[in-house]
């Protein structure tokens, strides 16, 4: 029977460093995909992903075994990617976001996720890069990484309702962008 991520982490914590390779092989494609989409215009995505795994290994003793490994590694990846964006200084990152103040009751999880996922083609992926990081990241995590609102909230450390607000606004911005591309206005 295949070991769970959390069982592998326990093994690494107990000194079986080579077991960490198993975690890398399970997550490198996912984290690379997340990184390549989120850091589309950045050339050092592979380095950032490598940093993510190295940080995960360095801090593996802080992982509590009652937690899930997936949001934990995604959280490290999020921090690494955000640091890279800050370092490059190409895109503005706000210290305080008013979206986190109140959230919204209309920002519930969308039951039509699968339908929307099918609509996401290469054009949408390219259009994603026109969005500011705060809208781009939740859209990538939700539609490409298949994370739910709660998991995205845990990865980005923002209120669950804010995840909904950002996904909703991000989709609206994408639609507006597609409309401009199609009709030139």
């Amino acid at each position: 029977m295949e070991k769970s991520d959390e069982e592998i982490v326990i093994a690494v914590q107990n000194g079986e460093s080579e077991a960490f390779g198993l975690l890398i092989s399970r997550y490198e494609k996912k984290i690379l995909g997340y990184g390549r989409r989120f850091l589309y215009q950045y050339e050092d995505v592979e380095d950032a992903v490598q940093d993510t795994f190295l940080k995960a290994y360095t801090n593996i003793q802080s992982f509590k075994t009652d937690m899930r490994f997936s949001p934990w590694i995604y959280r490290i990846a999020h921090n690494t990617f955000i640091n890279l964006i800050k370092k490059r200084g190409r895109e503005p990152l706000t210290l305080f976001d008013p979206d986190t103040l109140l959230g919204s009751v209309t920002a519930k999880e969308n039951p039509e996720k699968e339908l929307l996922q099918r609509e996401l083609g290469h054009e949408v992926e390219a259009a994603l890069q026109t969005l500011p990081p705060k809208y781009r990241e939740p859209l990538i995590l939700y539609f490409y990484e298949d994370k739910d609102y709660k998991e995205i909230a845990d990865i980005m450390h923002i209120p669950t309702s804010t995840v909904g607000v950002r996904i909703k606004r991000g989709k609206e911005k994408l639609k507006r962008h597609a409309h401009i591309e199609q009709y030139g206005q």
């Binding site: 914590q13 460093s17 080579e18 960490f20 390779g21 890398i24 092989s25 490198e28 494609k29 690379l32 592979e46 992903v49 490598q50 795994f53 190295l54 290994y57 360095t58 801090n59 593996i60 003793q61 802080s62 986190t100 103040l101 109140l102 959230g103 709660k150 909230a153 845990d154 450390h157 923002i158 209120p159 669950t160 309702s161 804010t162």
Partner: protein, 259 residues
Amino acid sequence: MDNNSDLQKNILKKIESGDVLQKSRWYFVLKGCAYGLGVMLSLLIVTFFTSFVVFVTRGQGLLLLPDLGIRGVGSLLLSIPWILILIIIVFIIVLELLGRHFAFVYRKPLVYSILGIILVTVFAGGALAATPLHEKMYDRAMERGIPFGGSEFYKQYSKSEFRGGFAGVIRSITEEGLQIETLSGDVFFVSTSTKTRYPKNAELKEGSHVVVLGKKEKGGVEALGIRTIDRANLPHIMKRLKDQNPKQEERFPRTPRGF
């Protein structure tokens, strides 16, 4: 071999060569403890200052000022210890930032977590203010002293004079007005007129504790409002003003500080 495998190889090589090491579990345990200590300390500070603000505003009679009308409300707003309130706000923000590490805090909108912290602060501060802690600290500050500037802190914030008025005890009543002794031992002449408000219609007599709202005039204070303080609800700070007339010196008429 694809890039992804190279990535894996690189990482494992760095781990095997000892270039990358795991941080010890103790490091995280200590970090967690320091973090918990920070939260506890911030909570204690915010609770202490909140209860202290309750103690001094009540003790100076500031909470009775709204009974004296719009001027009373204005005087209350000017006399509230805003620096202490600013310190409380700063620590509420610190608590919010520390709390953002916990899922039950960051998953909720900022307004909810801030409101939660304010509620905890108000309840904890109110509960502490209901204990005799500040009364004992105040007595100690006045009698034996508190180290590390504690005495000055308590004395500074428990003066009976505030912006636009003062609290004190009536020492004598004449046809022209009242002689009122404040906590600092000053005796002022307070003139009254038909414009003076007496919200509780309480009888003014020698030995009554009062809060006076007034405007400065030559050699004394023209009272705009006088509010008596129920003996049963006398704040601790004012208990130091005995209702018996002490050896009175001819120090009046004077104008109180704070006007």
